[in-house]
Symmetry: C2
Subunit: 542 residues, 2 copies
């Protein structure tokens, strides 16, 4: 790989060519934003092809370097600029902007790749002794600034060596892995043995199992398979205060459950080393896919809520696109005009109101049928129209690829980022309207919203906003804009995040989410497990 | 109510007459234990009718009494011996033995009944200031010695006034209550509005919603409705360090989740004041009840496991009685002999091997059918025989009443207590065999075991042991025996408890369940929320 800036920040396979679909989609966005064909300013492409050089030199001294090399092997400690740069940021929009500007103010001093849990223990003990900061590093896909070396130190990259499947227990339906394993490697291993992990975040291709837990994430099929906290059985975490092993039982009443402090700890308490998760039988052939059009977002949400409260096994994937996302989606496929569009309009599913619902039932064949039949009834009751499986199949095809769009969109001078929350049903529409109003206040920003994770009591709301980049001051303006969205969430009963996490991005509002006594308890846990504050300093509230 | 000892310890309605069924069952146990008609020693009935007098006087001084009375009203502070005695112990076998012996070494100095959350805050602040211990008191149904005033102080009884339903949110499917509400009051309120709480511990009649959370309990229908941690949405807890309000969202990734330290905290961190739980539609008419006989416990467990791993909505109630429990159950109904017994034997469902399975599907009618059909198939594959719904209906009838049996059994000189654990499927049979061997080592003890809560990865095991009381030294011998069972759990991969909790009963083994770093983190939370250690001192590890 060439050690150029573009390869530091680009999503995924850095040599991959821009495919035709993505080009087409970007063209559509440019058209919608009215920046087609114009001499639109492209402010952030300057250094893309330049070789990576960091202003800050590694501060790891010779002794520390030697000692770390003794622990993990000299080939597993890197202090060159390119490795440090690629371990400086995650994939938040502001991260990419910073990298495009070459502004890496806090790179780690080195990247260390442990081979075993024993290596991790030795590194953590050594760094604790020497007060060297550690940022545990999985796939680097954080979109919440969870991965920054505020105090230098090392990025502990678990993806190079620490990625074995340790055991599959068919009787218990569990698999135990080393935390650095990537989603596709685990899923392939499981599929070959008739199982699935059920956890498919959009970052699936590049995120690690340890990262899933550390970020308290949720996959696209969480409505059926559960969030990572539902899928997680047990784990081991290496903290400066010792190894934590927990959760090796189906359920228990044995006091506090430390798993729920390690879930979402984002590297601040220790290094998650081994993870045991539930697996489910992989029955791809049984899947039943459905899509439906509703006359309004409200009607679609009501149908979704009724399905979730029906006491019938819900769809594993269950999504609604709001009217703007529905329209842009139809537009990209050319379905808004011509016969399809006219038909929908005639039937009362009008542009600006109509909302698409997607559902996939997986697992047992009879259960899939019962679920689909129940959903069909609820949809009809709420004025929905069945569109067969086409839209859902199309969505599935691009379930991971839309993440590849951001880099070329930024190349074209377009700002695109996402933010998400969750809220109870009784305030969902209110929150959706308030956030849209806020995001669209400039009259130019597109706001595509969907619900992609849903529960008996409420759902998430996932906002994608697209606008021309500002020629000047893009980063500062964007950050101000972002804080405003978070404040709007809080004002309308939403959480700071549903599945992206906190990192350094929304930590400023943690006291709006947690009581002072809760934060105090949490700080006490931190102080106990990491008394010198070496674990990912600066993330969350620590 | 007469202020006699019997009314301190007796389960439930203290004036209730012993019904015929219970008398019959006790007769059967006496027969099985070979103590029928003999002049069996009845060591613990001596003081039953005596008026309650405590050796220890209340140490609440006049100022504290006056101050507490000012907060909650003078009628809501009691310092008489009977009230103090009834708030001295829960319902663990050893508790009853102690009370029958009149041995109440640590009664609270007074009982305080707050009327509002404001009262609770004032009482907690006052007690924090004055260093007066508080034991939060719900229904008093703990079977783990969670309710003892090791350091005197007050029992804060929430059941007298603090029991309103605050709001039902039909859109969110949630209800918010004051923590002192009893199960039946909540369930009646919900049923009248078309909902159910879905949480039915055997203590349902006398346990509070706050107690469900504090004990991290699971109800008889937890396989379908979830454990209390699944049903819980949000809560408020009054701690000496301030009010914690948490969890008012469907799901989130916002760092650590303090709910999972309050769940199972057993009064050691603060007083749970308000609880919001999920509710489900109450569709009693849709319920499908099934019972099945298997040739062995192993076959029944395999069928249960396959159902739980089928990705079909499982039964809400899902139970298996092991061979000994099955046989004693059949014997009590006279079904072990005669035609039924002969038929089962002929078919290969032989005494000593045969195991009964009970299942109830609730909620949506179509879903119930799909579930029952799937289970039927799995049962047949594993050699099970359908017995219709009779056994399950019979079980339902006595779902709460068997708790009333202990007092008359103890009157008859019979020791009866229960202990429970959970374990992954791969070690379930091993653990069951080891614990039975331990319990039955004296050659005289009956051991009835069932699985009543089940998961994709494993299940609980619930052991009921019955033997003649020892004429001497019953308490000390029993406690030794109990510790041996817990050690056997741990040695075979079981948890210290599945849903009863820890209290003071199994706290001695907490370091076998949690890593030292976990316990340290937990102690740090305690120290932060309750710096002077006034909250239920002596429970758990504090």
């Amino acid at each position: 790989m060439r050690k150029i800036w573009r390869n530091v920040y680009r999503w995924g396979d850095t040599e991959k060519k821009l495919d035709h679909t993505i080009e087409h989609h970007i063209g559509h966005f440019k058209h919608l934003l009215g920046i087609e064909g114009e001499a639109h300013e492209l402010p952030l492409n300057a250094n893309a092809g330049d070789e990576v050089k960091l202003a800050k030199r590694s501060r790891l001294n010779r002794t520390a370097l030697r000692d770390l090399m003794r622990i993990v092997g000299s080939e597993n400690v890197m202090v060159d600029d390119f490795h440090r740069a690629t371990h400086s940021f995650g994939k938040y929009y502001g991260d990419i902007v910073r990298m495009r500007l070459g502004k890496i103010s806090n790179p780690p001093d080195g990247v260390v790749c442990p081979r075993t849990e024993e290596d991790i223990i030795k590194v953590v003990n050594y760094c604790h002794l020497k007060k060297i900061a550690i940022v545990p590093w999985g796939g680097g896909t954080s979109v919440t600034r969870a991965l920054e070396a505020d105090k230098g130190g090392i990025a502990l990259d678990l993806t190079r060596h620490f990625k074995d499947v340790l055991s599959l227990n068919a009787e218990d339906s569990t698999v135990t892995v080393e935390s650095g394993i990537l989603g596709p490697d685990l899923e392939l291993y499981l599929n070959e043995r008739g199982y699935t992990c059920g956890h498919f975040p959009q970052s699936f291709e590049f995120a690690t199992v340890g990262g899933w837990v550390a970020a308290r994430g949720a996959g696209q099929a969480s409505t059926g398979y559960g969030r990572i906290e539902d899928i997680l059985v047990g784990l081991r975490a290496v903290t400066p205060a010792g190894l934590i092993s927990c959760g090796n039982y189906p359920a228990a009443s044995v006091g506090g459950d430390i798993r729920h402090f390690i879930l979402g700890s984002e590297g601040t308490l220790g290094v998650i080393s081994r993870v045991t998760i539930r697996v489910r039988k992989y029955n791809a052939a049984n899947a039943v896919m459905k899509s439906f059009m509703f006359k309004s977002f409200e009607a679609a949400v009501t149908a979704m809520r009724e399905m979730m409260q029906s006491q019938v096994y819900p769809p594993h994937f269950f999504r609604i696109s709001d009217p703007e996302e529905t329209e842009i989606g139809l537009g990209m496929k050319g379905k808004d005009k011509g016969l399809a569009g006219a038909f929908l309009n005639t039937m009362g599913y009008k542009k600006g109101g109509r909302s698409l619902m997607y559902a996939i039932f997986e697992g047992d064949a009879a259960q899939c049928k019962t679920g689909a039949r129940t959903l069909g009834k609820i949809v009809r009751k709420n004025g929905g129209l069945s569109l067969g499986s086409y839209a859902t199949r199309k969505w599935l095809e691009q379930r991971y690829s839309s993440a590849y769009m951001r880099d070329p969109m930024m190349d074209a001078g377009i700002r695109i980022d996402t933010i998400e929350t969750s809220v109870h049903y009784s305030r969902l529409i209110e929150l959706w309207e308030a956030v849209r109003k806020y995001i669209k206040q400039d009259g130019q920003t597109l706001c595509l919203t969907h619900i992609s994770h849903t529960y008996e009591t409420g759902a998430n709301l996932y906002f994608i906003f697209v606008s021309p980049m500002l020629p000047k001051d893009e980063l500062a303006q964007f950050e101000k804009f972002h804080k405003g969205i978070v404040a709007t969430f809080v004002a309308h009963g939403g959480t700071l995040s549903h599945h992206h996490g906190v990192g350094r991005l929304v930590a400023h509002a943690l006291d709006r989410q947690h009581s002072p006594a809760t934060l105090a308890a949490w700080r006490a846990v931190k102080k106990t497990l990491d008394p010198k504050g070496i674990m990912n300093p600066g993330a969350l509230i620590f």
